[in-house]
Symmetry: C2
Subunit: 337 residues, 2 copies
């Protein structure tokens, strides 16, 4: 399975050219463009070998060769060197991430945008649920007669809130009392430990307002439920249009509706990848992403694993994508946790 130096060089040249031009590359072109010290005929022999080994394929007789998925896989595994980001780009990103005034949602959006801008592919950021974090603060605020707002703050500064309907007779004071009761009972509990059963006592203590408490608990439960969902942010979908493989509208539509479908990408990504940079090429992905490649990495925030990555055509600049994803992951690593 190991290739000699010349074959490796030829494979690499073909990959680079093909990724750049999206056209099959011929023997003559490869020699000329990369200043190889051998003749086109020799290259042809080597290419025939590489094809037999499954690293190249020919769309039809008398076209040039294109790298097969297996060829890309070999390149990625055995030859690739990640391209590094410029100091300037890193600085930009660092600024976006650490600016403490912005909240989590915005930071995530920024990261996704950064990834897609630098790589020119479609990027995604998956943020783990916040359920494992700690409860910091709960507040009930009256809005109009009959409506109140329940606000829940976790120690990461994540805020969840929801409107609830309350009886007209409930006073501001009532709300305050109930709120401080909640706080007392829940102080510094982990969100995933909050269970309705823990709240019996609370309910009995303020019996005459139990319907308010019940409503609040319902709302709380809904909030907790939604906090369990990972969030997925996608950016740079437009970049797809630059790739000639998407001149086929049907393909484009299929992929776009995949992206639009709630949770669809998330489920189609490899699981349990740790925090390494992981690359899946073409048919290594699930059926409906079989002509895309994914370059992704895990990152850890507050004990949970999230994922970042980019999605592009199989004919992808893996070296650049992997370098960028890696750099972003490292930055997340040193910033969060």
């Amino acid at each position: 399975m190991t290739l000699d130096e010349r074959k490796r060089q030829i494979l690499q040249s073909i990959i680079k050219d093909y990724v750049e031009t999206a056209e099959p590359v011929g023997s003559r072109a490869v020699v000329r463009k990369h200043d190889l010290k051998i003749s086109a005929a020799t290259v042809r022999n080597e290419m025939a070998d590489l094809e037999e080994m499954g690293y190249l394929e020919q769309p039809h007789t008398s076209a040039g060769r294109i790298p097969s998925e297996r060829g890309f896989r070999y390149y990625v595994d055995c030859m690739m060197e990640n391209e590094t980001l410029s100091e300037e780009q890193l600085e930009d990103l660092r600024k976006a991430i650490t600016s403490s005034v912005r909240d989590l949602d915005q930071v995530i959006a920024q990261i996704a945008q950064f990834l897609s801008q630098i790589t020119r592919y479609t990027s995604f950021v998956i943020v783990p649920s916040v359920s494992a974090t700690q409860f910091r603060y709960l507040q009930l605020i009256s809005l109009n007669p009959g409506q109140a707002l329940i606000i829940l703050v976790t120690d990461l500064g994540v805020i969840m809130h929801r409107k609830i309907d309350i009886p007209l007779s409930v006073t501001n004071e009532d709300l305050e009392n109930i709120g401080s009761l909640f706080n007392k009972v829940f102080a510094s509990r982990r969100l995933d430990e909050l269970r309705r059963t823990d709240l019996r006592a609370l309910r009995e203590e303020l019996y005459q307002r139990r319907n308010v408490i019940d409503t609040a608990l319902d709302a709380l439960e809904l909030l907790l439920q939604s906090s369990k969902e990972e969030r997925v942010v996608v950016s740079g979908v437009l970049n797809l249009l630059n790739e000639p493989e998407f001149k086929d509208l049907e393909k484009l539509r299929r992929f776009l509706s995949l992206l639009e479908e709630e949770g669809a990408i998330k489920n189609r990504l490899p699981q349990d990848i740790g925090d390494n940079v992981n690359i899946t090429i073409g048919r290594e992905n699930p059926e409906d992403m079989k002509d895309m490649s994914v370059v992704m990495a895990g990152y850890k925030t507050f004990g949970e694993m999230g994922k970042i990555g980019v999605i592009g055509p199989v004919r992808m600049e893996y070296w650049r994508a992997a370098g960028t994803v890696e750099a972003v992951r490292d930055l997340l690593k040193e910033t969060f946790y």
Copy 2:
């Protein structure tokens, strides 16, 4: 400028057919499909007249005719009857809007989604700034040593928040004091009246914590600033792909990058339309939307004007789009405000 009954009927038939098929429609087809009681030859004469008047045009000799933008304009102004929604659809929407547990952002997303789903075009919802609403509540919550969260609630239940850095020496008690001071000073003020100058007094009252107050004020200012921005939600971009006019990738890309550009659509929509249903066709729009049509309506929430609408090709089912937009506007009218 007024057409006789037969011309109107022919124009209408051609519009309906063309909108449906996206192909030029010929005289024979029109007679057959719409059971007109006249012959194709007569229709040909009428069509020639309509063309001369500018309501139809011919892509080339010996193709059928297609409605010109002026033809669509005439139809929309003088002949169109809005299609009404089914009771069922209205009920769905009403439920989505009024479910009081969901917050504003979600309701908006729902409305946009509803619009795009029913019309099968791309929809947008522009939400006016909340700056004119009243301040209800402000809270400072400590997160970690050195970090706090400032939360601002308006009486509509809109929540704005931001992390701030604070000196390590600031205690929870300090935060509480500052918070209640803010509340005292601002109680029930309109957001657009909050000005830094009003806060002199406050700053002096807690002189030893003035740096915290300043930080909080900075954050507050940023929040108010962002609250002044209208939000724009777009939904159903995918629907574009169904329209044959977007088989041209270049066109598609241009429009998509328009959508991605912050505030771009907003600036390209007609201003000051009141709450009527307003239709702009093709070149009536700004240059870079000159082959799109927009059907939109204004709606009033809490004293400010917002907009809802759909964007599609010139070859649009105006009757359906207008009916839907109108229905949603009416529902918003009776629900909000």
